[in-house]
Amino acid sequence: MSSKNRKLQFSLAINEALHQMMANDKSVFLIGQGVKSPWYVGNTCQELLEKFGQERVIDTPVSENAVTGAAVGAAIAGMRPVVVHPRMDFMMYAMDPIINEAANWYYMCGGRSSVPVVIWGIINRGGEQAAQHSQAFQALFAHIPGLKVIMPSTPYDAKGLMIAAIRDENPVVYIDDRWLHRQEGVVPEEIYEVTIGKGFIRKKGTDITLVSSSYMVTESLTAAQELGKYGIDVELIDLRTVKPLDESLILKSLRKTGRIVIADGGWKNCGVSAEVSALVSEKGFKYLKAPIKRVTLPDSPAPASRVLEKKYYPNANNIIEAIQTSIKKKN
């Protein structure tokens, strides 16, 4: 196989980004809970400790607030830290250093000191883990000025966005979904960036615009393929970056299709789907042929029981239904 078509697992694409960036730049280091334990971080951090030593691969006690603050402080002092939260839920302990300090820092110092830190949170849901091991908090962070929020959906993006995040001069919240970790895809061996702030058209289409991100892209692709069989040609936009949104890509697609469905793995209220809806209402209202439809989690904490869990997480069927409603075309 030529290196151009080399395939890699999503989680190993992250691992490769970390290896290459740490080898390339001595100011890059990894800190967080479980970085030496596959039980926490799967194979995303494998062989980093062996290669770069415990001074740059720092497994920590459960002290999310201080550890995240330390990453922010190290960034202020000239390093490029990646701080990992193997379950995003625990990242809530670190809201002060992320929001009060990192997000505001560059502004409140009048541009005299920046915070090039990557705050990496893993959504770790399913498996009857219930409400505190399942949450997807992208909207929380997207609300905050001074933070960038990125959500890769493919192995290619997992690597390219991690590299872009490490190189960015600002605090970047990198959110990945454990449900994507085993996916395989083509990943170039060299160092490359996926541009933060730019979305990507996963599938071109003419009938309806489907806006999606992270794991929901997988469900959206299934939905688009299924609908194709019935003559519905879906254009699928992968946001890649939740903040700042690629407004022009969304509006350009909507202008062509006149219909839009937004699929997000978070909640509906004040969520990413609400933000995209507001964008469409404010700047794309004249293109709309039908009301905006949203596919999200219900307004409820995550349940444990498998029966409820299956109902809780939206899938391709929910997206198909939403698109059919929008198009008013029964198959």
């Binding site: 001595k26 280091f29 001074e55 740059r56 720092i58 920590t60 006690p61 002290s63 607030n65 201080a66 550890v67 995240t68 603050g69 330390a70 990453a71 922010v72 402080g73 190290a74 960034a75 202020i76 002092a77 000239g78 390093m79 830290p81 002060d96 250093p97 009060n100 300090e101 820092w105 560059y106 502004y107 409140m108 110092c109 009048g110 541009g111 005299r112 000191s113 920046s114 000025p145 001074g146 960038k148 001069e169 600002n170």
Partner: protein, 301 residues
């Protein structure tokens, strides 16, 4: 006081009066390569670390030439070229940042020392204990400095803690911890020197608690006397601490030991007053930030 009373200064200022010996004594032991992180009460730390006074004043006036370009105000003072890395008012919020800066020095194998200044109120925040543990675990070159002025905004320490024993918390984490009179600049200098030496030798962290008192209230020029508008501190207590004022104390020492006479001291006071007036004038006459630049500095390009 005047610029506050006449409305030129509207930004809340947390005055350092009464605690000057701590910043002066500690920063005299540091070089400009060493890092300092501070709090809402940061004017003293900024100046002692070498920050420019006119830039400080302009920041308080909300001007573009201010050290934070008028975006931060009195609680966000920075002079990175002097090692004054920043200050912020979320209580205990900069302690973990300082730990991170010390971690950066540890990774880069530098001899640099980081000082984290915080008040007694910060001892009520959990992040202090997380930070102490992590710094001790990694033996980071950091000095945790608690300026215990006995009040957390309005609340006396007796209503915040079961015991007035903040420095002892460092010991729980096997950190060398000391408590000293924070109003005696020579004692402050001496103990901080020892702490800096330990950190440079890789024997950090160190925890220092300096006992002190703020001569003004929590914020602004009000002195928070009981019975007055803000009604916090007994008049007798304030009078007792006025007698321990750190600047008076140092002056008495200088005179007693014939290092300086009253006349020379008067010259220094005059010079300082002149300088302060000059910086006020600079701050007052310099331009505000441009309205069109409201969202400049949200992201670094």
């Amino acid at each position: 006081m005047e610029p506050i009373l006449n409305g030129d200064v509207r930004c809340p200022v947390h005055l350092y009066s009464g605690e000057e010996a701590i910043a002066a004594g500690v920063c005299a032991d540091l070089t400009k390569k060493d890092y300092v992180f501070s709090t809402h009460r940061s004017h003293g730390h900024y100046l002692a670390k070498g920050g420019d006074m006119a830039e400080l004043m302009a920041e308080i006036y909300g001007k573009e030439i201010g050290c934070s370009r008028g975006r931060g105000g009195s609680m966000h003072l920075i002079a990175p070229e002097k090692g004054m890395m920043g200050s912020a008012p979320i209580v205990a919020g900069t302690i973990s940042l300082a730990v991170g800066a010390a971690l950066a020095s540890y990774i880069r194998k530098e001899k640099r020392v980081t000082v984290s200044f915080f008040g007694d109120g910060a001892a009520g925040e959990g992040v202090l204990y997380e930070s102490l543990n992590f710094a001790a675990l990694r033996k980071l070159p950091i000095i945790f400095i608690c300026e215990n002025n006995l009040y957390s905004t309005h609340l006396p320490i007796s209503e915040c803690r079961a015991g007035n024993n903040i420095y002892e918390t460092g010991k729980l984490f096997r950190i060398k911890s000391y408590r000293t009179d924070g109003n005696d600049v020579l004692q402050v200098y001496k103990i901080a020197k020892k702490a800096v030496e330990l950190c440079r030798k890789g024997q950090g962290p160190v925890f220092l608690e300096f006992m002190t008192y703020r001569m003004r209230g929590h914020v602004g020029p009000d002195d928070n006397i009981q019975g007055a508008h803000t009604d916090i501190r007994p008049e007798k207590e304030i009078a007792k601490w006025q007698k321990k004022d750190p600047i008076d104390k140092f002056e008495r020492f200088l005179i007693k030991n014939k290092i300086m006479n009253k006349e020379d001291m008067g010259k220094i006071w005059k010079q300082a007053e002149k300088e302060a007036h000059k910086t006020h004038a600079i701050a007052h006459s310099s331009p505000y930030p441009k309205k069109g630049e409201l969202t400049k500095h949200v992201f670094k390009e």
